[in-house]
Point group: C2
Chain length 178, copies 2
């Protein structure tokens, strides 16, 4: 086991803000650097458990705790973790921070109207049609991060520009090489 | 990431059958061998999650799935996992086997009256006093493993004798060295 836990880089932001896209780009970079790493995408974690959880506040917290548990163990063993999960509540983000000693929170800041327009997964359209959805930003509030380690304006710049900024930040923190 | 997942050695058996004791002995041996390893003890996993789950059938399954998820990821990254968890139901043991490609099930066979007499954690006494307990072997049936990789008669032999047999088995399987 390593002495210093490897970083857990956690992308938070509304659905459609670019968490999975940036997460995949980062994983590819880490693999190119031969850094042992794992991608923990909220939806894939749900799949592993047979999609036993819905999207209520309590169920979202459950899913995030599952991710956090795996990330902590992997990180303790020198595996860098990239997490793409909205983690919308102060309560659960505080839980995560308390459990992970090398945690980097990347906030993808984007105006709600931008992600509603993009609607990558069709979730916002579905919410609008059904009237109730447990969708963060619609029925469930998203708590704006109070002390993110990095903010990326993914609503205002291209994904490549955001990724360039992310890489500079991670090089500075020693997570990836030049 | 390794090509072949590292083993997940899962001790199953009634409360008091010796899962945690053998698990700790095995972890010490693995560490002595400098094998990257992690001990996943059911109670410690519950602690991580703030003891949010009780001991009903459904809650036990939840806890086991959390352990399985972490074990799968660790194993994929070359970390040998030792799990001490009763995993009493065919249903959830089948889930575990389906998710872990290098899974070794060690069944600690012990007669119920032996563990009730031992009552290491005082659980059986408590169950007897309260009349209802969600205790496996008392209120919740324990499904006898149908195809364990190894059976140890921990009710009839000393823990040291069981551990000697366990080591022989794991040497034969290439998990630990001579």
């Amino acid at each position: 086991m390593s002495n210093v836990p490897s970083p857990v880089i956690w992308f938070t932001g509304l659905s459609g803000s670019g968490k999975t896209s940036l997460g995949k780009m980062l994983i590819n970079t880490l693999k190119g650097d031969e850094v042992p790493c794992e991608f923990l995408d909220g939806d894939l974690v749900r799949d592993f458990f047979g999609n036993d959880l819905g999207y209520s506040r309590e169920e979202r917290i459950q899913n995030i705790k599952r991710i956090c548990f795996a990330a902590k163990l992997l990180s303790d063993h020198g595996i860098t973790c990239v997490v793409a999960n909205i983690a919308p509540f102060y309560e659960v983000r505080d839980f995560v921070r308390s459990k992970l000693s090398n945690y980097l929170q990347i906030y993808l800041e984007v105006a709600p109207e931008v992600v509603v327009n993009r609607d990558v997964k069709g979730l916002y359209k579905k919410a609008s049609a059904s009237g109730s959805s447990n969708l963060v930003g619609i029925d469930i509030p998203y708590d704006i991060p109070r002390r993110p380690d990095l903010v990326l304006q993914t609503g205002q710049e291209s994904i490549d520009d955001s990724f360039t900024k992310l890489k500079s930040f991670l090089i500075h923190r020693g997570v990836i090489s030049l």
